[in-house]
């Protein structure tokens, strides 16, 4: 198998069954295994309802699976308490969503720096934010409220926010779903760069165009490829 030191994320026998009150349980994930190493950019495709988002949330320490383990850099994330898990997310995991989820009353730079709350950013973090603003071509729009940004710019801000803390793992749920081709290309390139610099990316999408020889396909909670 692979070198353990290289492994960033390992999902083993991961299952998730939703039990909505008054309705039949929904098995969204069943016994999924997956391993991500440094430099990996893993794409997972699947139709709507196949369990992509469920997989991502479980992997991102945001939703406790019904069974199975999520091991990141040697730590079983769901063995941690919820506050420790939050701290883990802050330090080691970056998220990018289809809906961007920016904070509407903060400008670009504050949105990027929001993960430095409550204490505020260090000089180093501020410099890194500047670097990201430049890298994603947001310099001219820096002072704008996010409501005035184009969707492409918004996703670039979200990406910068995810990368600020230099996480080991980047989780992306349909990051290009709302973007035009040019912006989608920028976002995908940034993710590729991130993995090439030693990070690991897990990208879920229903867009088959993003499939590659190494990508997996999810269907009703199972990997079918």
């Amino acid at each position: 198998m692979t070198n353990n030191a290289e492994t960033i994320l390992r999902l083993s026998a991961l299952s998730k069954t939703y039990t909505p009150a008054g309705r039949a349980p929904v098995e969204a994930l069943s016994a999924v295994d997956l391993e991500l190493r440094r430099g990996d950019m893993q794409v997972i495709t699947g139709p709507s309802g196949s369990g992509k988002s469920t997989l991502l949330l479980c992997a991102g320490a945001l939703m406790r699976p019904s069974s199975g383990q999520v091991i990141m850099q040697g730590s079983d994330l769901y063995e941690l308490g919820s506050e420790e898990r939050a701290e883990w997310r802050a330090k080691h995991i970056g998220f990018v969503f289809q809906q961007f989820h920016l904070i509407p009353f903060l400008d670009i730079s504050d949105n990027i720096l929001v993960a430095t709350l409550p204490g505020g950013a260090s000089t180093e973090q501020r410099q890194r934010a500047e670097m990201l603003i430049e890298r994603f071509g947001l310099v001219e729009r820096r002072g704008n409220p996010v409501a005035e940004l184009s969707v492409g710019e918004r996703q670039r801000v979200a990406l910068a926010r995810a990368l600020l803390m230099q996480p080991a793992l980047l989780l992306a749920d349909e990051p290009t779903g709302n973007l035009d081709e040019d912006n989608a290309a920028i976002v995908l390139q940034a993710m590729r760069d991130f993995s090439e610099q030693g990070g690991a990316v897990l990208l879920v999408t229903h867009n088959k165009q993003l499939e590659n020889p190494r990508s997996k396909r999810l269907h009703k909670g199972h990997f079918v490829k």
Binding site: L62, V114, A115, L117
Partner: protein, 436 residues
């Protein structure tokens, strides 16, 4: 950007939410702080009113006393010493004494006896006569040599001890007359004019001011001339002892002192006048006390009413503000579920999420307390006494109460925001992100 900056930015983004909270807590604190200021202003007003009333009454009492002093001096025969055979009943009926006694009775009292309790001693010869030169008009003719100097009043006398420096009843110089006001009017006589009386020529020195007594139909002249004109040499009919008694009780003692020197004279006591004076003073004091008590009671009642109202209104306003703020925060949290989910996903702790809302509530509380405090204080003063509100603004301000408000209001806001803030901390980011 720290947490407080974050809170500030959210506040300026959702101004309505903040302002609505601010207004409610300001209003509550207005009522809350108006209450003690109002009560203080009322107390102060009461004190001023009572003080003014007291001063006015004191002024009135002094004036009343002054009036009595003047009355006592002008008519003020504290004691009337009459001849041994005088018939007091006839004296009352006739208005003048009919008997006489030797003139040296007066000097016996004043000089030989030198009775300490007798201050002003005035020998008078009094008799009803018809004024032939004025068509036979009936007058009471009074002759006096003026006050007899008594040795014990040395410091009020001239150096030779023969006359008063400023007598309370000036003597009538020979050749002059003083006439009562009714008489002067009836006979059309004016001060300064010359006239004749019983064949002698006089100058009318003064028309005496009206008194509503027999004085108004009297004519005053020098004793020596009157004795000669009426063939009553060495005789007088009354010795007036003026202003010699201060208390009704000591009258008996004075009578005893007089009888020691003039055992058989009759003494008419004008004690009723002294009593009247004492009584009047007592009545005035009583009336004053009643008025003060009533005023005090009225003010106390007002004060109690205001206190009861304040005791009810302030807590009610606080409760209402607390509820309103609770719902505002509930709404604020609901509006910000997405944001909270993201922050939580990005790793913010449950505590920090709580703090975001509690800081906001503290800001509302502090600002609301300051606004409400000064507004309440000002309104209370304007309500009680608009004219002096500005003058008393600082005087009736209590910094301790401001401090208390600055603690109470944020505390109330924290309390009101607590449950919604807790709810915000417990938002499940996974649910939020799935919902989106």
């Amino acid at each position: 950007m720290n947490l407080l900056t974050y809170v500030r930015k959210e506040i300026s983004f959702r101004k309505f939410n903040f302002v609505a909270g601010l207004i409610s807590i300001s209003l509550a604190m207005t009522v809350w702080s108006a209450a003690p200021s109002l009560l203080r202003a009322l107390r102060k007003q009461t004190e001023t009113l009572l003080l003014e009333r007291e001063k006015a009454t004191k002024r009135e009492m002094l004036k009343l006393e002054d009036d009595y002093r003047i009355i006592m001096r002008d008519l003020g025969h504290n004691l009337m010493i009459l001849a041994p055979d005088e018939d007091l009943v006839r004296l009352q009926r006739e208005g003048v004494p009919l008997q006489t006694m030797p003139q040296d009775y007066a000097s016996r009292l004043a000089v030989t006896g030198d009775i300490k309790s007798l201050n002003h001693i005035l020998p008078v010869l009094q008799q009803k006569v018809n004024w032939p030169e004025q068509g036979g008009a009936e007058i009471i003719l009074c002759g006096t040599p003026g006050q007899i100097p008594t040795p014990h009043r040395k410091r009020h006398l001239t150096e030779d001890g023969l006359a008063y420096l400023s007598p309370i009843v000036p003597g009538i110089p020979p050749g002059q007359l003083k006439i009562g006001s009714s008489l002067a009017e009836k006979l059309n006589l004016k001060a300064g004019q010359r006239l004749r009386l019983l064949g002698e020529e006089f100058v009318l020195a003064e028309v005496l001011p009206p008194e509503g007594s027999r004085q108004d139909v009297s004519v005053w002249c020098h004793l020596d001339w009157m004795q000669k004109a009426l063939h009553k040499e060495g005789q007088i009919s009354i010795i007036l002892a003026l202003q010699c008694i201060c208390h009704a009780d000591s009258l008996q003692q004075v009578s005893k002192d007089i009888k020691k020197w003039l055992p058989d004279v009759k003494i008419e006591e004008f004690s009723s006048m002294v009593k009247a004076r004492l009584l009047a003073r007592k009545r005035a004091a009583e009336a004053h006390q009643t008025a003060m008590r009533e005023l005090k009671e009225h003010r106390e009642k007002l004060f109690r009413q205001q206190k009861r109202f304040a005791g009810f209104a302030a807590p009610a306003a606080m409760l209402a503000a607390g509820l309103w703020i609770f719902f505002l925060f509930l709404n604020n949290v609901r509006e910000r579920r997405q944001e909270m989910g993201v922050l939580r996903a990005l790793g913010m702790s449950e505590n920090n999420m709580l703090m975001i809302f509690l800081w906001k509530s503290v800001l509302i509380g502090i600002l609301g307390a300051a606004l409400g405090f000064f507004l309440g204080h000002s309104l209370a003063l304007v309500g009680v006494e608009p004219d002096s509100a500005l003058k008393q603004w600082y005087e009736l301000l209590r910094w301790r109460e401001l401090l208390l408000a600055l603690i109470a209001a944020p505390a109330l806001c924290i309390l009101a925001a607590w449950l919604p803030a807790r709810q915000a901390g417990r938002i499940d980011p996974a649910v939020m992100l799935m919902d989106a």
